[in-house]
Symmetry: C4
Subunit: 204 residues, 4 copies
């Protein structure tokens, strides 16, 4: 590799782990502490207000699980990689741009969970991240010199299938947003199920 | 271990340390700078307003000490571990979901420290984290292949006792919330005392 | 090097990666979730409000790309460095002061993209960071004992050219702010183009 | 050292670097983007509002420089340490509790820079951190088994002098708060001067 074009893998991992850690922790900032009007007793009013946060807490937990899946995908992908070149790092950083938008699009669904535009923005965000992961995998398949060991065609197919889990769940969420917007965010709970099924096929 | 199922320990540690660092630092965001009405002099009004922040500063310090105990527990647990498999990492990441909720539940007790629902939400959060630590320990006891050295039954008992410190303190906080809600948060100060007692028994 | 004057390189990198990760993630906090008046239906009003966030999302994405370029520049610079002395670390930390201001100056352009003062503050921030990178390079050229291998005059010239990319783009943004303030932020998209051109010259 | 009482140094460093990175970046969140009333033109009003942020930007820069000094002090201290025991880690984590309060106490001086209570809270925070650093040094002097090499009495004296720089600057700020509150925050700019003088004495 030409001098000056290789990028230190441990620093890309440190930046990535930092951005994931912050995005995962910021999710919870969208759950505001409810404010009790001064003339009312917190002991009377607060239980109802806290229970009313349930949709926001659920949206936050789902977004956390999705980010957790993406982080595991990044760890799995970088486990294959021995060295990084500039185009691959650029792809990786653009993917992180998708990750930093998750606290925003999650807050949108958290506040307006039954509004279709909120569902679509969250779905578009997650689908874009999944497709960028797919692009990273495609780049690695085409540049085996970056890898510890070449990716076999069977491994490549399983890898692309992993990258399509979140776009597939996002598509399902968009389809569900027409008949049942309140249920659409549950489609993201299928991502770990999809991934576990693919891992099961992989290990056979 | 089957290929593709091991997860890099240093990256899980980096994500964990990042999430703890952010959660610990976000605690202080719940202490808002008091606003002095424009027609009043800050030198006259501000001292009282700053002293009035005392309960919030105390809630923040207690939550910091609790997170500090959990972080030390994670460091102690990962010191035993030689390699990580997927189910253990999933357990670990779910525990982090509990950690990211601490700034929210701490802000709730910070704003409404004497409201029972706030005390209960904070207690439930900390008890859940402690139980998830216990589940991690149980998984390690059952999977000695992940460890540097097998855990003896005596070590396992002490480990479970460590994991039960925060649920025990949370239970005490809930019980105290009936007669003396203002005192209940002090029960968490027992966590380091409990842990030191267990460490003392361990080192004998 | 005298005892006590060397600074651990891995810790400066960890602090730097942490600050970049947080600054990149905080950018998105300036995009607030729009609030729908209670008497209106989110499904009717929200699509327009979300589309109205377009300039803020664009400002956030541009600031992310600029921070990404600076992070890559830091990684490239530290790839040359074998050890750090105090003055170089001080220069590096002052540069980080410039980085932590980016979420603020980016939020200013995000909210008031066509106001000249906002364009100028953002431009001054990015130009200052670029000039501080140039100062770091100058210090390294003068202190080859810190480097893995001495920097040749040709490499030094290319390095200074890299450091001048963001001041040049900032100058262009300021000039564009008079005839066409709405277009000026696009000048920052030239930074990766400039850098790629320099890298192309380097690799020849 | 007894089994289970040693704490991994790299993880304490990672947590510390993370907390410093976040605290340094959060400082800038206290500089809010000024809001221009809807009926006024941003091009007319915003320049004055941005110039009016000058005291807040200065407070943020001073707090950044102070945190930078503390971070360098931590790096210098941990450079001496070969292994960590529980009491030292507990001291270290309590010091981090002081660090996470800096964004709050800095925001207080940023908003009410001429109010004595704000000056005193900031001074108390920084003095407490400095004294906790001194306590860490004292612990290390008494536990040479934790060190790469024993600390000589002359080195110990210089180390204590370093730890007293921020309490000394804080005391000066408190004294200045009576005749000239607006100038008192500049006393913190003496911390790097004090430290450089001590380093100069050290290297002789």
């Amino acid at each position: 590799m030409a001098r000056g074009t290789e990028v230190a893998k441990d620093r890309v991992e440190a930046l990535t782990d930092g951005i994931f850690a912050i995005a995962m922790t910021l999710l919870v900032l969208s759950i505001g502490v409810p404010s009790v009007p001064a003339e009312l007793s917190p002991d009377v009013v607060l239980p109802g207000l806290v229970l009313g946060l349930w949709p926001q807490i659920l949206a936050c937990a789902i977004a956390f699980l999705v980010l957790m899946s993406f982080w595991l995908g990044h760890e799995q992908l970088f486990g294959l990689v021995a060295r990084l070149d500039r185009p691959f790092v650029n792809l990786n950083l653009i993917t992180l741009l998708g990750i930093v938008f998750v606290p925003f699009s999650s807050a949108l669904t958290s506040d307006y969970g039954s509004a279709r535009i909120a569902i679509w923005v969250f779905a578009a965000n997650l689908a874009a991240i999944g497709l960028l992961y797919g692009a990273q995998r495609y780049y690695l398949v085409r540049h085996p010199n970056l890898l510890h060991a070449p990716i076999t065609p069977a491994e490549a197919r399983l890898g692309y299938a992993r990258s399509l889990c979140s776009p597939a769940a996002a598509l399902l969420a968009v389809l569900l947003s027409f008949p049942a917007p309140d249920l659409s965010s549950f489609s993201y709970l299928l991502i770990p199920v999809f991934l576990a099924a693919i891992d099961h096929m992989w290990s056979r």
